[in-house]
Subunit: 205 residues, 2 copies
């Protein structure tokens, strides 16, 4: 499973790195999450300069794509040249968006009339884009998921692992990253959040 | 408050970036958390190349220091040249260590006979270094704190904010980053984890 974690200038480190680090727990099974950027380097909202691992166009070929969040998403959402470089297909790809990434997902026409999740800051802009926003950390409709609140990125990762590998692998990845002494709590909550949105085959995998 | 987040080659993205991103929520109050590295660039355990924001020697002058974790910590713990560049003083600095960072804290002589937290993988090495390891996500003794399990880095950040600014600021930072729909749960848990280790003045700040 090759995963593009779309990461733009002004990105929120929590949103790109929590998801990618959890997904990379499955490296032994051939999974790789790549920080995927429109330029060779991007600078985070806190001034951290990171080299991209894949160019933006990699998203077209990836098995799964997560759209990260950041403080410049509104500019990106108004940049047709940048948006045109993101060619996604929910029929053959698992797609997730985190916080303001939901705004880009809406601009890409991948939310339609369905309710979605985003963070409290981005919420009014997503509503302006015609989307119904839920007071919930996570929702998925088929192959397209959205999450709201930086630390909800763990749920995007857990959903993607449950969909692409199985529930047991999602539980194992969450168990590894959870705080010591709170591991069962974290695993159970993550599974309870994503399980309603899994097809029956994934639930029993 | 100037904070050094020590980040070495092979670093775990969760451990350095969850803490730094939460701490940087207080930027308006003059707080800055800096990715602090022994070389101009470091490469994460998942191949992400990041430019350091401060050199390792910045840790000596910082108001607070968090020691991140990674897959090469055992090598670093055996490298006297690298260790000698990390000059910390718990009398005037708040100091925290995350997961395998606890091993470096022990090697720096800053744990002594007190029990500490670390992750399950590092646990045997920390025990070998003479430290009693707790089955808990977080503990602090005065100005020195340790945390175990990647996502426990939120507790290091919350403790540092509570110590340096006050409980209300710790609550606000945790509220911002928590998943939508779970914000009260996250805030209450973080505060309940760190509050037993705050002096009375910080509890009422």
């Amino acid at each position: 499973m090759q995963i593009a974690v779309l990461t733009f200038d002004g990105f929120n480190e929590l949103d790109s790195f929590i998801a990618s680090a959890i997904l990379n727990r499955l490296r032994d099974k051939g999974w790789q999450a790549h920080i995927t950027t429109p330029t060779p380097e991007v600078t985070s909202m806190n001034g951290v300069v990171v080299q991209g691992q894949k160019p933006l166009e990699f998203a077209t070929d990836a098995d799964a794509v997560l759209i990260g969040s950041g403080i410049r998403t509104r500019e990106i959402a108004e940049d047709p040249n940048l948006l045109s470089r993101i060619q996604l297909d929910p029929k053959r790809q698992l797609i997730g968006a985190q916080c303001s990434g939901t705004l880009l997902l809406a601009k890409l026409g991948l939310i339609g009339d369905l309710p979605a999740c985003t963070d409290l800051t981005t919420k009014p802009w997503v509503i302006d884009a015609g989307v119904t926003v839920l007071d919930a950390p996570f929702i998925a409709h088929g192959n397209v998921a959205t999450a709201g609140g930086c630390l909800a990125s763990q749920y995007l990762a857990a959903w993607l692992i449950a969909r692409g590998a199985g529930l047991a692998d999602a539980e194992a990845a969450m168990h590894y990253v959870a705080p010591v002494g709170e591991k069962e709590t974290y695993v159970q909550r993550a599974i309870s959040v994503v399980k309603p949105y899994l097809p029956v085959s994934a639930e029993t995998a």
